[in-house]
Amino acid sequence: MSAPASESAAPAPLGNGWVGVLPVVLAAALFAGFASMLPAVAAGSVLRWQADWVPSLGLSLAVLVDGLSLTFALLISGIGALVLLYSNTYLAGHPQYGRFALYLTAFMVSMLGLVLADDLILLFVFWELTTFTSYLLIGFSHEAETSRRNALQALFVTAAGGLAFLAGLILLGFAAGTTRISDILAQGDALKAHALYLPILVLLLAGAFTKSAQVPFHFWLPNAMAAPTPVSAFLHSATMVKAGIYLLARMHPALSGTGVWLWTLTILGAVTAVFASLLALRQTDLKQALAYTTLMALGTLTLFLGQESGYAMTAFATFLIVHSLYKAALFLVVGCIDKATGTREAELLGGLGRAMPITAIAAAVAAMSMAGFPPFLGFIGKELKYAGALAVASEPVLVAGAVLVSNALMLAVAGVVAFRPFWRPASGPLPRSPGEAPWAMLSGPVILAALGALFGLYPDVLQRALVAPTVVSLTGTPAEVKELKLWAGINMPLVLSATTFVLGLAFYAWHRPLRSALEAAFSRLPSLDAGWDRFLDGLKALAAWQTRVIQTGRLTDYLFATFATILLGLAAGIMAGGLPPLAIDVSGATWVHVALAALLLAGAGLTVGSASRIAAIAALGVVGIGTALVFIVFGAPDVAITQLLVETLVVVLVAVALLRLPALARDRFRPAHAALATALGATVALVLLAVLSAPLDRRLTDYFEAASWPEAYGRNIVNVILVDFRALDTFGEIAVVVIAALSAYALLRTTKGDRT
């Protein structure tokens, strides 16, 4: 691995120590583990494992390994291992590589959990974990403004879809009566007839379409290319964006077959596929072009999941694998090009074939698979796509047409991305003089491209190991599996294939005039991306406006709002319960009671009417001490003592604070406050009357009276309750006391400097 003399000095492979190697080993071990399950799953068995999670809610940590989840798991862990190996060199010496490896590994594990989960809630937990970890990955270059913005955009779009998804899952669990996915799938047509079918479908599709970037939620995906290239290779080939596809596939047996399912998936899938391949051809940045072809692949997969025929399902399973292999390889190749030359501009690059021969061959092989040339796996995938499209019962011409146009455009894009940079003569000097990448960065593209070629030559291996079990998971019967063949005889798919080659080569030959035409056409379309920014700006303006209106900064307003809320709550309660009897029995009142009431009234009146703060505080203290006396008269010494002490402290505290305030204004009659205070007082009185009109429930009182001495060795019931019977509550309360004191202390300390 001799590094070229230029500044493109390729970093030493495995340059991050054990932090770089450990995740690779972990991912490879996971891959090996999943691979060992292949024979059993290929033989038709479904592996399960489960542990209780929240038994009271019927939730369990249930894992299910069938053809579909195993295919995904192998792609995730296998490509994950190669990408981690690649990153270790690509980002060698990066000061935050440990963080990067952690994010990427966490993302990989979340993805694996997502595809293996057999419980709706568990599935959702992993779904959200992939959202968060992908946010961290997309925003990894967090010093760059666009990187942060795009990461946030991806997070918002997918997390908003995630909320809809959660609602859909809850409805689904409710409708099916269980959250166990395998049980739900076994229910067959019952769900489709359920009254909640349509809401469930709409909500689940919202989650899947945002995650898998279907039109009109597609705009976040190309922006997510702000991430380092290995992240793009991982997120946009086999994982993140395929999560939505996985969900659709997983739910296919339970939800597909209705008109809504068929038309929504077919139309949105077809529109996404064609629209994205046009956008892909328009790009000159290699990575952006690949990002749009990912959209095309997702659209095609969605399109096939809309159908039910065995051909469509086989096409889905095959294309899923084909796409993951060539897309990851090409992303990694673009990363190599970028690293070696310092640019990803298609118009600048040229003549790299001589300097980077291995990369060039890997790129060519992967691109041939992408373009669908025989004998590569992509050819078989394409034949099956046509067979699947022709098997569509409703609109075979429309579907086949969409597939044809997008496939031809794919061929052209494959040429632009993986052929031209290597084999056309260089148009000018490059930012750096290129050299071959180190082995760690080459192994990924080489292995993935080689797999695409091998499986093309020996399709029956792939068929038995992965495609057939996946189709069985989707259709429930091995009878629907169609064979993967390199040569299927002269038939309609072959004719369409030939048309694709002609059309695609034409697109490639004239891609530059096409590009400018597309550029002109698309620049007239409204940009969803700009609309997103306007939407966020509007949201922020709305938040700022409502904060200005609600948060006035005046304590009086906050207190008014608080007490008004209490009044409304209490009044609503009184209304609901009916008015209590208003007659008050005062026959037992002694002169002590009358004197106490007079004292309280006088204190309250003085508080409200006084023109001096200190007098008002003292009068408020009178009310507090009057309340303490009430407790003493009615035999609650503990409460009385506490009340007395608290009252003393409150007077001290309030006096300390209020005496620093300016003198009271002369004219301080506030009608609204007076009305609120009167209404609140009257309502509280009504509530008290209502409480007293009901007989006292003495069960707890009796229990504590009886148990206090024998069980807790205490005669002061109040204290025994506080420190023994309900000690946990008390502990919570004293924790709150400490937190309140510390917060107030911190608040007082920090405002010290602000005062003038």
Binding site: P637, I641, T642, Y713, R715, N716, V723, D724, V737
Partner: protein, 139 residues
């Protein structure tokens, strides 16, 4: 507040209030009192001291930062609650030891409940003083 009478009286009152607060704490299980009331009483003593002689002197007399006392109290209450786990009971179950108990006399009762109450006392005492000192000093 600069008053000779208050300062002179405070010297005796603070001691009395502190002793009284401990008395309230310890009798709490059978008579009116307890950690909450005791803590408030004790805090009142130091607040009186702070009003009479200033918070600087009051802090010096206390020696330890009041917020440290509050947090220590919370920790003590937590330990008292967790201790029951050592005896195989549910958390916050009171554990009792009757020192020198005989047929006729129950002896000296010691319990995790008392430790918990002391924790409450320290929390209330420390929190109130944290607040009052801060307000006196910063406002």
């Amino acid at each position: 507040m600069n008053s000779v009478i208050l300062r002179a009286g405070t010297r005796y009152l603070v001691g009395l209030l502190l002793v009284f607060s401990l008395y309230m704490l310890l009798r709490g299980h059978n008579e009116p009192g307890g950690g909450f009331i005791g803590g408030l009483t004790g805090a009142t003593g130091f607040i009186l001291y702070a009003i009479a002689c200033g918070t600087r002197d009051a802090r010096a007399a206390l020696r330890v930062a009041p917020q440290a006392i509050a947090v220590a109290g919370l920790g003590l209450a937590l330990i008292a609650g967790l201790a029951s786990a050592l005896f195989g009971d549910a958390l916050f179950t009171g554990q009792w030891l009757f020192l020198g108990a005989s047929e006729t006399d129950k002896g000296l009762p010691l319990s995790t409940v008392l430790v918990f109450d002391i924790g409450v006392y320290l929390v209330v005492f420390g929190s109130v003083l944290t607040l009052v000192f801060a307000m006196e000093e910063e406002l």
